[in-house]
Amino acid sequence: MPFACIYVPNFPVAAALRAEPELQARAVAILEGKPPLEKTIAVNGKAARLGIAPGMTKAQAELCSELALRPRSALQESSAHAALLDCAQSFSPCVEDAASDTVLLDLAGMESLLGPLPEISRAIHQRAASLGLAAHVAVASNPDAAVLAARGFPGVIVIPAGKEAEQLSSLPTEVLFDREDWQKQDAQKENEKKSAARLLETFERWGIRNLRGLAALPEVSLSERLGQEGLRLQQLARGAATRTLVPVEAPPVFEEAVELEHPIVLLEPLAFLLNRMLEQICARLGSRALATQELRLTLELENFSALNQQSKIKNQQFVRTLRLPLPMLDSKVFLKLLQLDLNAHPPGAPIMKIHLAAEPARQRSAQGGLFLPPAPEPEKLELTLARIAGMVGENKVGALELLDTHHPDGFRMRRFVAEVARKTPQKKNPDSTAATAAVTPLRRFRPPVRVNVTLENGQPMRVVCAKNKEVQGDVLWKAGPWRASGDWWEREAWSRDEWDLALRNGNAVSFYRLVHDLLSGGWFVEGTYD
């Protein structure tokens, strides 16, 4: 039964580099502690070559001008850990969350699905890289051997069954002890460190520096001197320890967060950060074959501005929710939509922290038809609608929906979705088409045009409009009135008389609908028949 281990060395640095990929080319050190007692806790290879080591104070580290110092961020580390779990779960359903930087997965039966083990290992390595994590991947026949190999060998390694002791023999004895579990409490960590240091000192005194030496020790003598712990370590060194995985079900939470040292005051740099976060979220969603239908952006603001009382600011938080009509997975589209939304609703204060969460949804499946008419691409259409809504107003673009009312203009706008149930185009009988005449529609004036009406025997004889000179003239013909009323139980009650008129204005004759509002007493031209 093969097991794979994904191990991210220098996890705090890796989490920081995942959030800021431009730091890859620089020496980076992570600081922890309360100012002014901050100390470096992790450094990358470039920083180590410059002489920076964990445990140095901030003042010492700052002497190196090329070094980029970053505070340790729990948010970044939890995002990186979630990404690591997503990476593992995209290959196997049985995943153990061994540590914040180590994940184990059971590959039993995966060879028939995903190919031979070296190929799977390389795919895991590439998937981790696509999620922004430089990971070590090792495959072995038992979990502990896989963990030791992943901690000891960089890149990808596959240990054939039965050759664990031989492969692990060159590793130093330090790999047997957790170097650092970044999530453990301080007291527990200190105890473990002390016992590990004591054992390492003992091995050093015995002249044992690698696992080969430890594996070759006689078991009884080792047991007499170090007890059960010594035997356990020897089993590990021989690659012969066996145990079962403790699988975890990773919660479907897709969140990314960035804490900023200096507040952002423009949307342009915010867009860069959002782009990176969206790419990471989309990569994570994609690795689990999911999409999203709702994006929630929470910005923590520096100052509470009284000018923005009307926007959704709660406890100095600015929340925008982007609801999509269909599940999508395109970071560029999401970025554009967020940009358009933030352009329309700017936060109004400098941003200190960005939190982006995606609600997972199943990817949409669409079966295109060869003979079906084309439909707008949902992602493109959503962008187009967002742009148009930014131009004309949010409630001014969409699809129509008639309301169940007798009100003459009773409708509401709803979201336009280009994926209504597709139906086969109806082929009409040409004879029946010819038989039905076109409908005379009303062309509405919004708002209705107020007019002055000259009445004779209670009937309109002349219409005069001060604003629109085209809507006036003598009444040549009229039909009506038809009385209608409704919603009398509401505040928006309406009651009116409708007339259909033919007005002559110069040589032109036009047909209008004239309305007498019985509640206000005004006369309005509601539209023209066209």
Binding site: L307, P376, T384, A438
Partner: protein
């Protein structure tokens, strides 16, 4: 300058030479001239030039100049039904990938044709968009005409832009401000083009509407996938509609070309010039009757005479010549507006070179039965 060169060559006794050409022998040319006494008046230099031009022409391969008869013929666009059989008979339908203009005054049947085309397109299963400059679409009429509202995108342009409305409220001390979008993705060129769309930008509400209409149309054309896109400019003042530069119409024409989209513009007067492939002028027969009356050529058409014997049963006809209440034989509440008589005239078609024709058809109101 070139004449100076020639004269210099002549003075030196050498002919004018083109690059890569062998120098002709003057003596042999003189011999040729002797053989043709008709050309004896021409100077030797002119003869040299003529022969040189002939030589150059003979070097041009015949394939480099393609006769017009061999040019590729642009394939005829696919025509689809407009929803009104009479219009289909007149124009052959509405062409895909082309701009079609429907012009006419109020009550001339433009909206009838618009809704009929929308109904036909949505019933074919296509998605349609209406960019409504005047927010004039009546949903009840659209449903009565047979439009499937699920497939209709309605863009209601207004006099007030939300961006401009927000601008004055924004306090100058607010640090976070909107930034321009990066020029990437669909419709990114729209922002750059928006400035040249309206020739002079002012606070005129019509200009604001027009700007919204043009930008929305640009975006929808760029989005693709729509079977029919309608620009409803019917209620815009003609002087405002005429301010749309011709380059905008050219851009629309290019954007819709080779796509299965019909671009339909509803206007008061034709404004797209040669960019439109089809131009149909709509008129109400009632209006024609008024004109005829003015010219002392009276003619009764449907809907113009009360008690017209040809009128369908149940319809009360309208007599435009009757101007007083006393002339109405029926009380007003006993009458119904039955519909319009429309005359459509094909003004221009790039697809059909037949002479101008017109058709007449009737429309009826939803309550006319």
């Amino acid at each position: 300058m070139s004449s100076a060169v020639v004269s210099t060559s002549a003075a030196l006794g050498r002919p004018f030479v083109f690059d890569g050409e062998a120098v002709p022998d003057v003596c042999s040319l003189v011999d040729v001239n002797r053989q043709d006494p008709a050309d004896s008046n021409e100077s030797p230099i002119a003869r040299v030039l003529q022969s040189t031009i002939k030589n150059q022409q003979s070097k041009i391969p015949p394939a480099s100049v393609t006769p017009a008869s061999r040019l590729d013929i642009r394939p005829a666009p696919e025509m689809v039904s407009s929803g009104i059989p009479a219009i289909d008979a007149l124009t052959g339908g509405l062409p895909r990938g082309c701009l079609t203009e429907i012009c006419g005054p109020a009550s001339s049947g433009r909206t009838t044709l618009l809704l009929a085309a929308l109904a036909a397109a949505t019933q074919r299963g296509e998605f349609c968009a209406v960019v409504d400059a005047s927010d004039a679409l009546d949903p009840n009429s659209a449903v009565a005409a047979g439009v499937e509202l699920d497939r209709l995108l309605w863009v209601r342009c207004g006099e007030r832009s939300p961006q401009r409305e927000r601008a004055p409220r924004r306090h100058p001390s607010i640090a976070l401000r909107a930034c321009p979008e990066p020029a990437e993705g669909a419709g990114s060129d729209t922002e750059t083009n928006s400035k040249d769309q309206i020739q002079s930008r002012s606070e005129n509400p019509s200009d604001n509407r027009l700007e919204q209409v043009l930008r929305a149309t640009d975006l929808l054309l760029g989005s693709g996938g729509f079977g029919l896109i309608v620009l409803d400019l019917g209620d815009l003042p003609p002087q405002a509609a005429r301010r749309i530069p011709l380059t905008t119409w050219f851009r629309f024409r290019r954007a819709v070309e080779n796509k299965p989209t019909i671009l339909l513009a509803i206007e008061h007067h034709p404004i797209a010039g040669s960019c439109s492939s089809l131009l149909v002028q709509m008129e109400s027969s009632n209006e024609l009757a008024a004109k005829q009356r003015k010219n002392a050529a009276h003619g009764a058409s449907r809907g113009l005479a009360v008690g017209n014997e040809r009128a369908p049963e149940g319809r009360k006809k309208i007599d435009l010549q009757v101007q007083s209440e006393l002339d109405f034989p029926y009380p007003t509440h006993a009458q119904l507006f039955p519909g319009l008589d429309i005359t459509a005239e094909l003004i221009r078609s790039r697809l059909d070179r037949k002479p101008t024709r017109s058709v007449a058809f009737e429309t009826k109101t939803a309550w006319a039965g």
